[in-house]
Structures are given as C-alpha cells and as structure tokens.
Symmetry: D2
Subunit: 343 residues, 4 copies
C-alpha cells in the first residue's frame, strides 16, 4: 500500500481526490491537511463524506514525521511551491496540482503568474504530468506537475495534428467553455449563483495563464514555437470543459486520414476516447476520460476538433491519480475506471 497524504484537502480538487481514492486499492490515505481548518472533521467541511471518510484535518507540518510515500498538493498557485521546497529532503513522491511547476522556466512562470518563484530547483526535476505526452518521464520523476484543466482538453485535442505536422502553426484557435468548479470552492461574485445561472460569458480574453501552458506543450511536439488563440467561457454548470478547436491544414487532408492520425497517436492511451460524433460534457462527467472528435470541413478548408473532459477528474484529481499510478509502477488505470453518471 502506498502511504499518501493530501495537502490542502478542503477545495474541490482535494475532495475529488478523496472521492476517487476511496476506490483505489493500492493507496492508504494517512493524512489530509488544511491550515485554515486544522482540527475540523473533513466530513463537516464536505458533508457528502459523512460516515464514509472520517479523517480529521491536520496541519501539513505533521507530514515531516509521517514516513509517507507520496503526497498530493491540492493548493493554490504560489502556495504549492512552498511545500515542494519544504518537502525537498523527505523521501516523497509529489504530485502538484497547482500551476507552480508546469511551465518551462521560472522566468516564464513569473511573467504569466505575476509572482516570484521561490523554488526554481523544482523546474529541473519536474515532469509535466500529461501521460499521453510524457508517460516515461512521469514514471521516472519524483515531482509531477499536474496539468491545467484547459491545457489538458486543448493539448489532447491538438497533439496528433501538431506532432504529425498537419497544420499551419499560426492558425490554432481554441474556443473553450468550462463549468464553474474550475473557479474553485470559494464563494465570489463570478460564481454567485445568479451571476452564472441562465447566463454565459467569456472571460480572461487574450491573457489567460493556461495559454502559455498550451503553447509550451504544443511547441514541444514540434520544432517551431506555436502560438494559440485561447478564449475561455463560463458555462452555467458544475463540471466539464468542452474545447472547440479550429486549425487550417498545411496540406491536403481528409477525415479518414485525420482519424487515423488520432487513432495512432492514442492507441496506447486508455483515457482518450476517440468519438465518431461530437461528444457532450455529460459523456465524460465524473470520469477520467477525454473524448475527442475530429473532422475536416472541405467547404472552408478547416479542421475542427471537439475535446471534452471533466475538469475535476481528467483535468485535475483523476490525472493526479493516473500520474501516481505511473510513478509507482501500477496499472495506469487503477481506481479510475468508471462510467459517467448520465443524466
């Protein structure tokens, strides 16, 4: 059994980790922490766990003495790096669900996150935790930077096109739509019920942080630097990201060829599900799947890709468990095989 801890368990990614790990046969959750709610019962914070998960919330300070094998950091950007630093001398594998180690260098981080990075050493060791692109590196790594939710949907939608050199690198437009849980557990005006319900809007136009994460990963699949247009929108629903992606081919393509490219790229990746029709968000809700549909529009000479994930699972906690499985040599799918709840 892998002795694990969850640092920062009171947010949505923390509680989702606990929901999923409840079914994981090889992990033993030794500790869950919250600095602001130390001493409270976890199920008082998240009543859905009442009588099922009865941990008391501890301080992360206790982890040093606990002989854990692994921790998940389910913390805000900027806080996570402090814990990675604090834990550097412990013999611990870390899956960091924040954005602190996803980018290539501290400089890039600082320019998009407007924040100084206090643990630059982490950038050398960390792997970008998207198994469909970096599975071997994740297996070898002790620090995995779990991808952002939008980047997961976007990169998985585009990777076969970019890696195959099939598209004009300047033509990529990602029009993405997300549920509100991406904005976190904390009440704020943007997620006030009456501001979201029966409503829809774009946000973060031209400057969302996930843009650079997508660009860096796609650029890694190619020789050239790739720039993308990325526009997020807020959907009146809890979970899910659907990205509608547009790109212009740089050669003659057809549907058959595109589907083959995707099928080849993802043949050994159990959580990418190629679809023959466009997926909807409820097809993947609650699961670790990324549903991808690709099609070519002859009339306009454009490729359209629809990619759908649950932001809290494949876009966060599920991917973190998939990474843990790889880091410990387990079956990549362990604890993650479920069917979405529809409706």
């Amino acid at each position: 059994m892998i002795k694990t801890g969850i640092v920062g368990a009171t947010g949505y990614t923390g509680s989702e980790l606990l929901r999923l790990l409840y079914h994981h046969p090889e992990t033993d959750i030794k500790v869950i922490t919250s600095e602001s709610k130390t001493g409270q019962q976890f199920s008082d914070v998240h009543p859905v766990f009442t009588q099922l998960v009865d941990h008391k919330l501890k301080s992360a300070d206790e982890i040093a003495d606990m002989d854990l094998d692994a921790v998940f950091l389910a913390l805000p950007h900027g806080v996570s790096m402090e814990y990675v630093k604090k834990f550097e001398d412990l013999d611990l594998k870390i899956v960091d669900l924040s954005g602190d180690f996803r980018l290539s260098t501290p400089e890039v981080y600082e320019s998009w996150y407007n924040k100084e990075h206090i643990y630059q050493e982490g950038f050398k060791e960390s792997a970008y935790g998207l198994p469909e692109l970096h599975r071997e590196q994740i297996r070898q790594s002790d620090l995995v930077a779990n991808p952002g939710c939008y980047p997961t949907a976007s990169i998985l939608g585009l990777a076969p096109l970019v890696e195959g050199g099939l598209i004009d690198k300047k033509s990529i437009i990602i029009d993405a739509k997300s549920g509100t849980t991406g904005a976190g557990v904390k009440a704020k005006p943007t997620t006030h019920f009456s501001n979201v319900n029966d409503n829809f809007k774009s946000y973060g136009l031209k400057k969302h942080r996930h843009t650079v994460e997508i660009e860096e990963q796609l650029s890694g699949l190619d020789k050239e630097k790739i720039t993308v247009q990325f526009t997020p929108h807020l959907l009146p629903l809890d979970r899910g990201i659907l990205a509608t992606i547009y790109a212009t081919p740089n050669q003659k393509v057809n549907n058959e060829q595109l589907r083959e490219a995707y099928s080849d790229f993802y043949q050994d990746h159990p959580f990418v599900r190629l679809r023959e029709t466009a997926p909807c968000l409820k097809d993947v809700r609650g699961t670790n799947l990324c549903d991808v549909f690709v099609t070519y529009d002859e009339r306009t000479n454009r490729i359209i890709v629809i990619s759908a994930i649950d932001n809290l699972v494949k876009g966060s906690a599920g991917a973190a468990i998939q990474n843990l499985n790889l880091m410990f040599g387990l079956d990549e799918c362990m604890g993650l095989k479920t069917i979405g709840m529809y409706p």
Copy 2:
C-alpha cells in the same frame, strides 16, 4: 411627477426598483445611493443598465437637501431604521423594504432579529404594506413597511381561509420554496453556484424570521393568535417563491365554496390572480402577480393552497411601487402591468 430616491441601490431589490420604475410614468428618480460605492456609475455595478440608466451613485447624506417626495429604502435589516430616523424631520414618504418596521412592536422585533431597535417611534406610524390587507392604511401612511417575500406568498395564500374562519388555526403548515435572489446580491457559500445548482435543501428550520411576520398578519385577520409551521427551502433558480400550504377545515367545505371565498376576498385586488390549476413559478416571473390555487382533498380532509410570486417583484420591489402608487393616490397598477417572460 413624484421626485423619488432609492437608498441602497446596488442590491437586487434596488436594481429591480430601477428596472420597474423605468416604465413608471409618474416618478422621477432624482437620486440613487450607495455608501460603499459612492461615486461609481450605477451601470458599472449593474451592467444590464448600460447606456439606459446612467445615474452616478451618491451618498444618502445628500438626500436631506434634495426636496424629494418619496424614498425607497432598499437596505439590510438593522440599517434601514437608522435612515428612517435620520429622515424623520423631512417631508418624505418612505417605503422601507427591510424588516425593520414589519412587526407589531420593538419587543417582537428584538426577539426574532436579535438586535436592538433604535427607532421605536416608527412602529406607531408605519403601515404593513400588503395592499390586499391594508390598502386604506397604506394610503394614509407616510411610512410603509414593505412585506417580506415569504410572508407575501404565505399570507395571500391563507388570508381568505383565516378571515373566513374556515380552518383550524393550529393546522397551518407552509412548505415554501424560494430562488436564490432572496439571499441577496452578495456572494456567500450558500449561494455559490455549485452549492445550489442541481441541488435542493431546506434551511432555517423552525426559526426563520418570516414566521412571526406571517403569524402576526394572520392573527390580525382573526380573533385568536395563529401559530404556523413554516419551512423554507432553496431552489436552484433565480427568482420566485412557491408556497405549498396545508390546513384542516373546521367545518364541511368543498371546492366551489373555497373558490368563492377567494374570489370574494380578492375581487378588488388586481395583482392576485386566482388560478384553476396549480401555478408554476415562471407564470409570475418578472411580474407583480401573486397566483393562487386552492383545492380541497376529501380523502384526507385537508385544504391545499399553492401560492406563487416573484420574490423580487410582488415579494419586494413591485409591491414597493404598488405601495407608492397608493400613498400618492395614483392607480395602484401604474408601471406594474406586464406579462411574465416565459420561457
């Protein structure tokens, strides 16, 4: 033209007043205030008014010098009384949308609101602003306490039964369901999108403040003190209160007789709409209507009443305008005749 002001215009009742008064031919809104947002454009706070209502928010302190005819106080409980006191020497008619002057005495107020009342004089002058019960008194009054949203739906559903002496006074159960706007414009955990969406729950069991307001008004229609069971619930929607009301008749009754009692009671009241089938919330959304359906269940010997309002209109801003119309001798319906937006 009636020169009016709205004190506390940035909440939902304030913005709803402005939405409705936009069509009112006899009012001229001279000032809208907010202490926390003084100096800002109202339409920056509520963008739906962009280029249509372009007031700058002022401080309520300016009202003393403005020679207004009337003000609406759209303030939280406890704050409103301070302004009523402050304005006592001005020649102003006041519609107070808070709970500060709805109850019979300062003592009752203090025991249910856990707050000292600083303007006890107001209780003597104020009229309870439910025109269907107190139209004449409202016409004479300079201070009208606009009713609570739950009390409006509940009292209008029960008044003909209580006034007609048709029911056992101890048998009344009001199972009420409200949209989230009743909880206000401010973001808080209870109105965080993901806590409300696809969810439903009761709250305030056994001790909601509106209970005593309902009891006092119903008791006023009868000789005896009436006690009611009142249970509010939170619906995953913006606007509306639907109350399902149960009572046991104290005599032989039938459907025909009940409908006649309601029809007689409300014949001169244009905003109560007796329905022949149970109403839904969207039937009244955006309007000043209260839809009421009454039926007798022979099998169980119980009367069931369904009552539906829009909590921000008939349950708040619409009723306030209806009261203003009465206070100034205008047609009671002025500015309030609309058809609900369905869907």
Copy 3:
C-alpha cells in the same frame, strides 16, 4: 457469477443498472434487451457507455433459452407484468422495477393504475423490495417488487415514527420534491427544458399513485390504516428526491428520543444515514444512500423529517441491486459503496 439480464435497458433505470453493475464483482450481464431498439448497440442509445459497455440490444424473447439466474425488469407499469407471467416457468429470480407488484392486491392496483392486472398470481409470491422493512422476505423471494422512488424516501423517513407508535396517524403530510429523471427518458412537454429550467411546480395533487404505496407500507408497520397527504413537486434538476415530512406526536417527545428511535430502527441498515443537520440532494446524488434528519419543533408541537435519496439509485436501480444481493445471499452492499459526486 450470477448470470443476469436487463429487460428494457434503454430507459434511465436500465442505463443506471448498467452503470452500477459495471462495478459489481459477482454479476455477469449476459443480455440487455429493448423491443423497440433490437439490434442497435446499447452505447449508440446511451453514448456515455461508448467503448466501455458494448452490448447489442436483443429482444426479450431470447431470454427463455439463456439459462440466466436473474433478470431486472426495467419496464413501464403495465408492461412488466407481461414479462413476469412469460418468465414464470423459468428458474429465474426477478427484480421488477415497475409498480406492477408493489401493492397488496390486484384490486388496489387496478383502482390506482386504471389498468387491469393480467398476472394476479404474482401478488402472492412477491416481496416489497425495501430491505429496511422486509429484508428477510426479500431473501426468500423469487419476485421482488422494487419500491417507487417517492415511497422509498417517504417510508424511510417515517418508518421509525410509525413503528414506534409515536405519532397521530392522521397527521402525516409529505411534501416531496423530485428531479426530472423520475419522469423518464422520453421527451414530453412536462420535461421540455424550458418548461423545467428556472421553474418549479407541484403536480399530481391529491392523486399520485405513490400515495397508496406509501400508505400500505406504513399501515403494515402499525395496526391501523394510515392515510397520508402526499404532494409531489418538480425540481429543475436531474436526480434526487427530497421529502419534507410533518407529523404530530401523540405523546410528549424530544429530539434525543426521536434520534434514538431512528438510530435503533436503522442500526443494521447500511444505506440509511442519520444526519445531524438537514441533508441536501447533492449529499446523496449517485449513491444508494437515504439521508434522514429528524427534529421536533416545540413551538408548534410537530415533528419534521427531511429525507433525501437519488431517485435513480436508492429510488430505483441501486435498490434493485441491493435486493439482488439479498436474494443471492451476497453482502447487501456489494457494488453499491460509493461517495456522492459533489459538486
């Protein structure tokens, strides 16, 4: 392994059975049927199962030759009885999810369902599939009538009070609220998006069929016939029933005593979760739990119970699996231990 079939797999209860049985270690689903969609892939009807459950839909006629151990009938009322009759000579255990064998006699059935019953023999053999009331009988039975969704929430909320003789039998009022999946998979005006979204209403006032089912089961816990007031409402959400239940005690009671009565009654029943505060629907969504909260209101001398289930799990497919487990001597909880997805 228990060789099972699902008859009528294209509705919501059928697809929910498949979702849940995917994790059940002792069942082997040999066949799923649909008369209207025979020959189609199940995952074409319910795309959420794509590449995960790849059965082809067959006709129920094939079951006679298949040597199954058990079938679930996920069929409409009136159709189910035909299959129970058809299968009577097969050595099959049947869990019937329809209302066809839930009531005490064919006569009661015919008066509330307005339909002749063509297999009256079934009434003698069948057990009412609520394990919390009839566990032993279910274990012995080859035909289990899975309870209705509203009755499950209502009976579990009331059973300790009725069995304990604590309440006035004429005082029971059940104000119940359900999501739309209770109305089935078929598109109809009542479940058209714009008629449900941002809306709320009562329906089936005074005459819903589940009334008699509740009354018969509660009467079985007592010596006298019990009559209940039952009012269903339609919530703008997918899953869940929350029942707010009112009853008058026939003796002096207090909260401690009530909680003890519930705790005693349910101590050996793993799926009833007694709560210390009122539950919300998302606390049980996707799970086989029934959350129950009981409290006494001294002011009004009334007991209030809040009971919450997922209508498609504890109110249907989950209960059916719980019953199957009992019929085959398995752990009652097998395949049913999960934590609700929140949010």
Copy 4:
C-alpha cells in the same frame, strides 16, 4: 392603430410577439391563429397570459375577411411560404419570421433547406429584415424576411469589419452558443431537460442553415463572396445567443480604430449597444438589444468580437416588431424599450 394578426401563435416566437406587443401603443391584435389548436384559449396553451391576453385561437383562413393592416407569420420553415402565397392578393404587410424568404434565390434556399420553394415571386419583393443593414429597404417593403437568430448576432458582430474592408475574408470563424428556445416549443430528445441540464455540446457542425444566411448578408457588404466557419452549440439555458467571432485583419489595426469603426457604423442604430467589456447573456435577456464588444489581440494578430442577443427578441419577435415599426413609419423603438431582467 395598426390592425395586426399573428399566424401561428402557439410557438415561442408567437407568444413572445404577444408579450412584447402588450406594451405597443400603436398595434391592435385582431386575431391570433393556430391550425392545430383552433378554438382553444391562447392562455390555456400559454398560462402565463391567464386573465391578461384572452384571445381565442382561430384558423388563419379567417384572415382573408378581416381587413388587417399587417400580419406576423410565426410559422415553421416551409409552411410560411404557403401563407405568403395565400395572402398575396390581400392588402397586407407581412413580417415573416421563418427562413423562407431570407436567402437570395429559390435555388440557394432549396439547396440548404432540402425543400422545394412554392412561392418564388416572394424573393423579388422581400427585404431582409435587419434594420442595421437594410433600414430603407424595409421601410419600402410589404414583405420582410425577419433574420435568423444566429445570423443576427453574427452579422451585427461582423458588419463593421466587413464593410470597412478591415479583415481577411477567409479568416472568419463564428463560434456561437445558444439557449434551447431556438429549438422551439415542441418537446424532443435534444431539448429533454436531462439532456440539456448540466450539459453542453456542439451541433450542426459544418452544415447549419444559418451559415449561408450569414455569408450572403456579409457578401452583400463587400465585393467578394465571403465564406464563414460557423459552429453552433447548445447551452443549458432558455434564452440567448453569444457569438465569439475571430477574424484576421488585412492591415495594421488597433483597439481605438476598431471601436471607432463600430461606433460609426452603429451610431444611428438604437438597438446595437457597443460595450467596453465583454457582455454576458443576461445583459440582454428579454430585450431587443445586441451587445457588441470588439478587441484586437496583438500577440496573435487577431480581432475578437463578442456579440450577444436574446434569440427570442432581437433574434426574432423583437426584430419583427422593429421591422413593423419601420414598415408603418413609426418610431423604430416603439414598444421595445426595456431593461433586461437581471438576475
């Protein structure tokens, strides 16, 4: 007073016409028709009108004898043309809300609507009813083809760019998101509550009929034929279309210059509201406004436009009334000045 009729009043566009015309001072609705519901009260079909609009539904056959000045045809595509033909000898102004006369020729119609056109004469007389592009022609016309909802949002978002020759004509991508009322009043699987709620998907990829309507209108503003990429999506809400539009400039541009182009283009058009930040759907819900926001992304060299309307008002019934106002020489805004209901 303009004597008007509404043909096909039981759908959402028909009921929305009645809701809006209730406040129109210069129209007198003499007749509303429905062939399938002839003889029923309109308010029985749409209970929101109970006791407010009490028309009985008639057959459209009665119109010939009624001496009307104008009719609105709120009919499905393919049916409308029959009535335009039938009414050709009457002295009637017609606003047709269907797609039957929106395109340039019968041939284009037939290729996108897969239907023979039975009244080809109509194409010569009809004006495309988008006042922001064709106000003068609408004033002169007796047959106005009211625009589609997606085309309204899309064309108004793009017109200043196309007319100003500012963009590469092959670069236009319109990623549009609509509420469910665009799919009509009739219950069908795509608008079944549980298929829409908490869900999101694209549809009509590559072949939606509104594509050609957008292309023809934009081409009319330019010398060359314009081809657009148009992708509609279905939002879990009732009303509203938000289009996120991407285009590449064919010259150096900046934000100031773009805003000036829009401001010039729309300076005499009261219902297009230029915004300084991206609009949300609730900003325009229930109103005849089209909110437009334009911005230039230097990083990617792309122009992004966000355009938002209520599909049942500016996208249908409201535009129809705006057109009627123009056809009869009235103030274009008559009956259409309202503030959106937020929340």
